[in-house]
C-alpha cells in the first residue's frame, strides 16, 4: 500500500500511534493493532480522496503534538497509553466530524485486512468466486404448523 498523504516521518509515526489507540492490540494478542497493520497507508489513500480532509489530518496531528507537549511529552507518540487516550478523547470532542471520518476509515481498513479476517475465523478471501456452503433445512418439519393454517389473505 502506498502512502499518498505526503506526511513527514514524524507525522506518519504519530498517525500510526493514533490508529494503535483507536483499535489496539487485543489482550490475548490474536488481533493486531490498527497501526501495527500499516493502516496509515490505507487511511492516507482514503483521505486523499477527500482533499479537504487531507489538510485537516496535518492540522489535527499538529494539534495532538501541541497537547502532548502540554503534558510534558515530546510528542503524542511519547505519551503513555492513558494520556494518549485522554488526548484523543479531547480531540474527538473538539473535532467530531474529522474524528468520525477517521474512525470510519480505520474500522473499514482494519476489518478487511487478511490478518484480521483470519483472527475472526474467516477465510481471507473475497466472497466471489468461492461463495459459501449453506446446508438445506428440513422445511417439512419447520413449516408444518404454518402450512396447516387456513388462508390468511383477503380476496381482492
Amino acid at each position: 500500500m502506498t502512502d499518498d498523504l505526503d506526511l513527514t516521518s514524524d507525522e506518519r509515526h504519530t498517525l500510526t500511534c493514533v490508529l494503535d489507540e483507536l483499535i489496539p492490540r487485543s489482550q490475548d494478542g490474536r488481533f493486531p493493532a490498527a497501526g501495527e497493520l500499516g493502516l496509515v497507508a490505507y487511511v492516507g489513500r482514503r483521505m486523499r480522496q477527500r482533499p479537504s480532509l487531507r489538510a485537516t489530518v496535518r492540522e489535527r496531528l499538529a494539534a495532538l503534538a501541541v497537547d502532548a507537549r502540554g503534558r510534558g511529552a515530546s510528542g503524542f507518540a511519547a505519551l503513555d497509553h492513558g494520556d494518549r487516550e485522554a488526548v484523543l478523547r479531547q480531540h474527538e470532542a473538539a473535532a467530531p466530524a474529522f474524528f468520525a471520518e477517521l474512525l470510519v476509515e480505520a474500522y473499514s481498513g482494519y476489518y478487511q485486512h487478511p490478518r484480521v479476517l483470519e483472527a475472526l475465523g474467516l477465510e481471507a478471501r473475497p466472497p466471489f468466486p468461492g461463495g459459501h456452503r449453506v446446508e438445506p433445512s428440513d422445511l417439512a418439519v419447520l413449516l408444518g404448523s404454518v402450512r396447516a393454517r387456513p388462508k390468511m389473505y383477503r380476496p381482492g
Partner: protein, 534 residues
C-alpha cells in the same frame, strides 16, 4: 443533431423497461431505449475483491449522493427522514436490490373498498396474475408453493436456504405461532436460463458477480436485444418534447460526450422510477403543459410513497453464519399484513429477514450505534456482535399523501445541468403506528429466537429503495396521471410503466409488481395497436 424517428422510445433501462421492451419487441416495432447509465461489468463487482465490504459504503452505496458516479444524479432529500436509494445502469436498481420478490396481496388493490383509505387500483390481482407468472419465469423466482398468505402460485426454483441464522429466526416465529415462509427470491438457486446457481456469496446488494441474482441486465435485456430492441447507454434525457398538436414527439438528451441530441418518436414510454419519472415530466414544460408534461391534474410528483422500514436487530449468544447466503432473502412473514382494526391502524406490514453482515459493515454499524467503541474495549465489544446478529425489517405500507412529493430543486443540478429532484416527505400517523407495532413484534420474535439484546431504528434513514405513486393510475383524470393501462390522460402517446404508477404501496418489495404492470401495459398496447391514441 436529429436521429431517425423510432416507433417507441423508452427512457430508462431498469426493471420495468426491460420487461416492457421484451414484450413489445414481438410487434417488430422499432423500439429504442435510452439509459443514462452503462452496462455493468460483474467481474468488477465488489465481491470480487478484498475491499468488498467497504465498497458497499462507497462506490456501491445505496444513495446516489454518496456514490456520486458520473451516471448518477443528485437528489435533495434533506427534507425527508428517508433517503433515496437507487442505482443508475442497465438493469437500474435491480443491480443492487435484495431480490426479495413477493407479489402484492389481492387486498392491496382494494384499499378503499376494504379499508376505507386511499384509493382502489383500476385493476385487480386477477388481472395481473398471468403477468406475475410470466415475470417470475423470466426472472427465475425461487420460493416454495403452499404459502397460506397468498393465493396459489408455483415458484419456478427451490427456495434459497435458510441457513443457521434463518432456522433460528424461524423457530422464533414458530414459538409465537406466527406466520413465516421462505422468501420469494429472484435468485437462481439452480442453473437457470444461462445463469449460474447462487453460491451464497452473501452481499447481494452490491451486484451479483455470480450472475445468480436476477438483475434485468442479465434476464430481460439480452432477450429483448435478441428480439431487435436497441439500447443506447450513457444518454441522459433532459426533456420530452411536445408537438403543436399536444402529442409528444420525442426527447432531447445528452450523449456520452455531453453533446445535446434529439430523438424523435411516435410513442414515448417513461421508466425512470418513482423519482426520475416525475422529475423528467416536471422538467418537460411547454406551451401545452406549462406546469410539466401530463400534469393537468397537478398530481405529477405528488403522493410519493416509500415503505417506511423499521429495522430491529437482535444479538445472539452464538455465531450464526449470517454472512453466508443472500443478504435480504431468507424468510418473510405476513402475520401482520392484512388489516386488523384491533391493532390501531389500517393496512399492515411484512417482515423480511436480514442475514448478518460482513466485518466492515458490522464494525461501522457498531460504531454508529455505539455498540463497538474505539479504544481498549473495542475487541470485546466487536466479538459480542460480529456474526451474532440477525435483523428483521418491518416493511410498512405507506398511504398516499399529496403533500409527500417530488419537485425540481431550484439550485441543485446533475452533471448535465438538469435540475435535480427535491423530496418533501413526512411519515404519516398510520405509518408511525405501523412502525411502532413492527418494532414491538419483531422484538418479540427475536427474543423468542434467543436474542440477548435488541436495538431498533425507525424509520430507517437509508431505506428509500421503493419509489412509488408519483404518476398514479386511475380512471378519473382529475385524480390520476395515467389511465388503467399506463397511458397519460393528457397525452395519448405517452406511457408510464414504473413504480410511479402505484395507487397504493402494499407492504412488500415492489419490483415483481412493477414488472408485472409493465408487462400488462405492453400487452394492452399490443391489443390496442389499431386504435392506440383513441
Amino acid at each position: 443533431m436529429a436521429d431517425e424517428t423510432v416507433d417507441v422510445l423508452i427512457i430508462g433501462a431498469g426493471a420495468s423497461s426491460a420487461a416492457f421492451a421484451w414484450s413489445l419487441a414481438e410487434t417488430r416495432m422499432n423500439v429504442l431505449c435510452l439509459e443514462q447509465g452503462d452496462w455493468m461489468n460483474p467481474s468488477t463487482y465488489p465481491t470480487t475483491g478484498m475491499d468488498w465490504d467497504a465498497r458497499a459504503h462507497g462506490d456501491f452505496a445505496f444513495s446516489p449522493n454518496v456514490r456520486r458516479r458520473a451516471e448518477d444524479y443528485p437528489v435533495n432529500d434533506a427534507e425527508s427522514p428517508i433517503a433515496i436509494a437507487m442505482f443508475n445502469a442497465v438493469g437500474g436498481s435491480t443491480i443492487t436490490y435484495a431480490a426479495h420478490f413477493p407479489r402484492f396481496h389481492p387486498s392491496d388493490f382494494r384499499a378503499r373498498t376494504l379499508d376505507g383509505v386511499a384509493d382502489d387500483w383500476p385493476l385487480d390481482y386477477a388481472r395481473l396474475e398471468p403477468y406475475y407468472t410470466t415475470n417470475e419465469r423470466m426472472m427465475g423466482v425461487a420460493g416454495l408453493a403452499g404459502d397460506p398468505a397468498y393465493p396459489p402460485k408455483e415458484p419456478v426454483l427451490p427456495p434459497v436456504p435458510l441457513g443457521k441464522l434463518g432456522e433460528t429466526i424461524a423457530r422464533g416465529f414458530n414459538a409465537l405461532g406466527w406466520h413465516w415462509w421462505p422468501s420469494d427470491s429472484a435468485i437462481a438457486t439452480l442453473p437457470y436460463e444461462g445463469r449460474d446457481a447462487c453460491v451464497n456469496l452473501g452481499p447481494c446488494l452490491t451486484g451479483c458477480a455470480q450472475g445468480a441474482k436476477a438483475s434485468t441486465d442479465i434476464t430481460y435485456w439480452p432477450a429483448a436485444l435478441r428480439r431487435g430492441v436497441r439500447l443506447k447507454t450513457r444518454c441522459r434525457v433532459r426533456e420530452i418534447t411536445v408537438a403543436a398538436n399536444g402529442m409528444v414527439d420525442g426527447a432531447i438528451y445528452y450523449d456520452a460526450d455531453g453533446a445535446e441530441r434529439r430523438q424523435k418518436a411516435e410513442v414515448v414510454v417513461l421508466a425512470c422510477n418513482g423519482i426520475g419519472t416525475p422529475r423528467l415530466l416536471l422538467n418537460s414544460r411547454s406551451r401545452h403543459f406549462p406546469d410539466g408534461l401530463a400534469n393537468r391534474s397537478g398530481l405529477v410528483g405528488r403522493n410519493l410513497m416509500f415503505h417506511p422500514y423499521a429495522m430491529v436487530v437482535g444479538v445472539f449468544p452464538e455465531r450464526l453464519d449470517g454472512f453466508k447466503g443472500p443478504t435480504g432473502c431468507g424468510l418473510m412473514s405476513h402475520e401482520f399484513y392484512e388489516t386488523d382494526a384491533s391493532r390501531g391502524f389500517v393496512r399492515g406490514y411484512s417482515f423480511e429477514l436480514m442475514r448478518g453482515v460482513g466485518p466492515v459493515t458490522m464494525a461501522l454499524w457498531g460504531l454508529s450505534s455505539g455498540l463497538v467503541p474505539w479504544g481498549s474495549a473495542h475487541h470485546d465489544a466487536f466479538a459480542t456482535v460480529f456474526d451474532r446478529t440477525a435483523g428483521l425489517l418491518a416493511i410498512c405500507e405507506d398511504l398516499p399523501d399529496p403533500e409527500n412529493r417530488v419537485t425540481l430543486d431550484r439550485e441543485l443540478v446533475d452533471g448535465n445541468g438538469i435540475p435535480a429532484p427535491k423530496i418533501d416527505y413526512q411519515v404519516g400517523a398510520n405509518s408511525r403506528r405501523l412502525l411502532d407495532h413492527g418494532i414491538a413484534r419483531a422484538t418479540e420474535v427475536l427474543q423468542a429466537a434467543g436474542a440477548l439484546v435488541t436495538s431498533s431504528e425507525a424509520p430507517m434513514r437509508v431505506a428509500g429503495w421503493h419509489l412509488m405513486g408519483t404518476a398514479r393510475m386511475g380512471t378519473d383524470p382529475s385524480r390520476s396521471v395515467v389511465n388503467h393501462w399506463g397511458r397519460a390522460h393528457d397525452v395519448p402517446n405517452l406511457f408510464i410503466i414504473d413504480g410511479s404508477l402505484f395507487v397504493t404501496a402494499g407492504a412488500v418489495n415492489p419490483t415483481n409488481t412493477i414488472q408485472a404492470l409493465a408487462l400488462y401495459v405492453a400487452d394492452t398496447i399490443k391489443q390496442n395497436l389499431a386504435n392506440l391514441f383513441d
